[in-house]
Symmetry: C2
Subunit: 706 residues, 2 copies
Amino acid sequence: MSIADAQTVSHGPCSNAAEWKSQLESASGLPESYSLTKTLVFKPKTPKSQTAVLIVLVALEDTNTPSSLIAKAVDVKEPRMAAADAVQTALGVEPANVSPLSITKENATAVQVVLDSRLVESTSKIAVHPSKSDVTVFISGAEIKTHLEGTGVKVTVVEFGLASVQAASKEVAKASPVKVSTKKDSEIHGAELIGITTRKEADFSNWYQQVLTKGDMLDYYDISGCYILKPWSYAVWEKVQRWFDDNIKTIGVENCYFPMFVSAKVLEREKDHIEGFAPEVAWVTKAGSTDLEEHIAIRPTSETVMYPYYAKWIRSHRDLPLKLNQWNSVVRWEFKHPQPFLRTREFLWQEGHTAHMTRKMAEEEVMQILDWYSGVYSELLAVPTIKGKKTEKEKFAGGLFTTTVEGYIPTTGRGIQGATSHCLGQNFSKMFNIIVENPDWKEGDPEEDKKVYVWQNSWGLSTRVIGVCVMIHGDNKGLVLPPKVAAHQVVIVPCGLTARTTDEERKTLLEGVSEIAVTLQKAGIRVKADTRETYSPGYKFNDWELKGVPLRIEYGPKDIVKKQVLSVRRDNGEKTPIPLDGLASTIQTLLDTIQSDLYIKAKKSFDEHTKIITKWEEFTPALNAKNVILIPHCDREECEDEIKERSKGTNEGGEPEDAKAPSMGAKSLCIPFEQPTGEHAIVPGTTKCTQCGENAKHYTLFGRSY
Amino acid sequence: MSIADAQTVSHGPCSNAAEWKSQLESASGLPESYSLTKTLVFKPKTPKSQTAVLIVLVALEDTNTPSSLIAKAVDVKEPRMAAADAVQTALGVEPANVSPLSITKENATAVQVVLDSRLVESTSKIAVHPSKSDVTVFISGAEIKTHLEGTGVKVTVVEFGLASVQAASKEVAKASPVKVSTKKDSEIHGAELIGITTRKEADFSNWYQQVLTKGDMLDYYDISGCYILKPWSYAVWEKVQRWFDDNIKTIGVENCYFPMFVSAKVLEREKDHIEGFAPEVAWVTKAGSTDLEEHIAIRPTSETVMYPYYAKWIRSHRDLPLKLNQWNSVVRWEFKHPQPFLRTREFLWQEGHTAHMTRKMAEEEVMQILDWYSGVYSELLAVPTIKGKKTEKEKFAGGLFTTTVEGYIPTTGRGIQGATSHCLGQNFSKMFNIIVENPDWKEGDPEEDKKVYVWQNSWGLSTRVIGVCVMIHGDNKGLVLPPKVAAHQVVIVPCGLTARTTDEERKTLLEGVSEIAVTLQKAGIRVKADTRETYSPGYKFNDWELKGVPLRIEYGPKDIVKKQVLSVRRDNGEKTPIPLDGLASTIQTLLDTIQSDLYIKAKKSFDEHTKIITKWEEFTPALNAKNVILIPHCDREECEDEIKERSKGTNEGGEPEDAKAPSMGAKSLCIPFEQPTGEHAIVPGTTKCTQCGENAKHYTLFGRSY
Ligand SMILES: [Zn+2]
Ligand SMILES: [Zn+2]
């Protein structure tokens, strides 16, 4: 197939990548998956006596291509964006119209090409303008390379980085300083605001990365597994913090701070517990140039950090309950593939650690906290979860039992642990000797009842909540933030200003916008008036859609006349005019509706994909159809192991194999507190385990999981 | 001198250490500095066939003496508190009356003694009851040892730890679990609530430790230089956080979170800057059992962590200003002697990092932030500070200039840096290449003006504020917390309940207490009703005084009749009856008065101890008289070095030497923005530097400093 045969689409002209993306979105007949490109022309520093050979960079739009790396790759000095006339002279086109197809046998000696290895290797189609901005052809990266090589131009393939965004930040940190600021401002902003180029359904992992970075939630960091929480995501965390913190304070939990460092001896005190964490513990062995005599761990969690002091502080039943909480960060140096918010080497969380006189008190608190974890998801993040108990196999190491809220990611059909509230029983108190005298003990009672080992809980909720929220609500335009956690709930965009607008009209409009903002703000609505002058309304619409602001308000000259605004919902695109009269309360109602609609939609999806299965042969197919599965289960750990093994999608036992099914086996997510009833109810001694045929004890929820 | 000659004081009987302390406080003729002791009798596990040799522990009251260590020291099993009859049999006195002096040649074989090494080595006098609780003798630790050895009893001196509280926590963490809970609850509580045993003026460092640990602010940790922030101090931090965070958000600062880890390369990017931190950087070199290929630092501050991303994110002047802040912890592995809150290896703080288009904008922000730092001290902590600029010698390494708020600790006469707000200028932006195009650049302007390196600030405020607040306001009864930051502003203690009180009267009184609490709470006052049943009002008074609650309300049967409460101010002990009618507003006014009186008192002290000195020979004597000193100064770094050297208190240049003067030299604290005027004003070319005689540029504040 030659380039002449390539799929070609005509559309409106576009002066930057955002416009390009938006033009393509309204076009038809596109490939299922494609990537935008950028073609930039650089001029290296060249002695005056010589003619510069320009460098044409052809790269995927989202590859970070610092000029320092270009300089290194082709051994030139200080490459800068080439002036328009130099580009015209060399390639016969304007800089804006340069594409890989601008290079021909005729002009091949005037330039050299730096080609992004990601583009060459991409399995998606590559979108390029063949000549002008109103036409796009879709060809493969290999075809572009073949074409270029056919012209005789010097081509250097450069590996800017393995993954777009990862590379970007690595470069920032490792390479010599990135030179981006010599581009014209307009170009930079054009290049910066890029919509999501991968569809959520097509490549979820890439979509997730893009939605987080382009939605301004997070940036990648030069240390693998660590991420920067930008203000846009940190604001979500602040909302979660405030809500949860206010709640736990009502039951007397107090905040405190324990050091991040733990000595090896203390860390290793509880054996079962530490076995779970040991492989992931980060060790400080040096300070300045001094080797430390004893290596010091960074807390992976604080049980062993805190409990020696609980033994010291709790001297009497009158010191109970002791309820402490910390908002801190912990470090688990996982070697598995990291994923922003879901699996990171350092993460922010809260960890509550409490001690009680009786098991009953401890258990009541465990459930109360679990309710609030469920509330963080349902009330704030509009995410439904299933509450339940972890199986023995999956519970917190060293604890008595673990309760959990489990979520569901529809796109991948995988379950995700939301937060866990553990009853530690007396295991840690025995290990750390946290004892009080029993105030009810009387002469004559058994001697061993005189002392009571306290009953303990620990419970934690992390920034993972942000990842779950993004994965569930985000769409192909970017983030969708629930109103309760969005930093801005409403953005107001002044519209309808043209070259013919008078200064007076402009002033009136902006005053109107400002009044609307003040009105909403006074009503407690988090509102942003986007009055940036150099951006078009269309640019702003894209910008805030990408960032997931729940509601957009458009306000233009016609609205002034009609005394209304136009509201546009981020979640479903619905446009509704709203009268200025009573605006704040209408908007508040609309925000509440958005919040609740997001929840309802996610709940429906979770419900529809929670299947009750009683025949094993239906198990893996249901899993492959993106379901989580409730089966009557025997509660045996070995049976869980077998389920995991048998559901890996290999052809075993005659169940049909599906080439597309992920290879991961299913694990137990929880034993839901709310068990199926009626016809489905387990009949003890009669209902059998779906996998092994032994007597079933509970319905257990299984699924592929994060 | 024999024990018979020892200083003896009679007083009322006391059944626990708190009462003892309180009895001594009202006695006269005490030594300037003394320590309370505890004498406890243990019985080790002994085969039934043998007679147990009891163990008499003689220790300073605040030495942590876990029974596990006693067991180890004298090689016995499971020592437990001895029963009263066993003590009576062995020593002929009741357990409560046992003292080192109870041991005589006659009973020396029935017991053995474990003697606290701190007690033996103490330079303070040691307070012991010679026979009963209503008499105290003051003798030296050495005398106690001599006495004991004279009886022939077996004496084992045990080093429970180097410093009382430090030892306590080390034991908790390192030794086998501490057994305290087998004591009777009443005894534990008696032993636990101990007033401050060192006077603030006598041994400030020890006083500070005691006030923090006994006031429940902090506990020592088994890793040196790390401390546990208990809820009582963390609550102060939360108040500071909320106030400052609300303020910075009004100028558009946003919170975010950057990883705690920094790669070596990035850390070392800015040379001047890193030189300041390198010796104190903690390095992670291992994860689990895997050695990391590249060592990873824990941030000592985040300039080099964040700025590579500023270079990436700031692409246009429209991205300015960028104003980010983090609430996090940083690690500086200092090898100097650590001090809670003031010099710790990990500490909590906020660090703001901002980038601006112009120097003017940056400087305005630096000053705005400094005002808020000053506000944290003056408004919340009731601590006066002096605002000024650091000298070149003392400024932040790598920055352009540093502004600071400097405080003063009257007891030691030392200055203390409160918080710093740095203008970094363009140094970091040049290093990290943070550039934007100049929007005002026109064709014809110099080419080099086309790009602008951004102007940057960084500013930080740490938990040090808590230490300063404690040092300034605390007294010999414990903490004194300013109302604005106290977790509880008011504590209500029901009084006047006796054995003759009827259930009905008790009920009425407690309902009254509850009503008062609700009334105050509704008015936004943070109130605690201390209705604990097992404690006496006196115990509660001591307890809350130790913890520094600003206002105590006593409410008893007589108050019910008079429709009033009795208020007692923590800061000055003033007692005032307040009618129930209008209670909340009267209390609020009183809290405001306490807040302002604390500030006024501290301000008066600071003012009185800020001396203008123009003759060098007066400099060191003024320093030794606990002053900070303003001198006309030449602004030269070498002159500062000389001042430091010459003020060390050694006899040099003829100035009088004072044996009591600390050896530390004075350093410059700041060049105050508010310079002396009138007769003191510097006349350029005429006024000379007090130290070197060169022309003076500014008044500079010098002092011994933390
Ligand atoms: Zn089974
Ligand atoms: Zn001088």
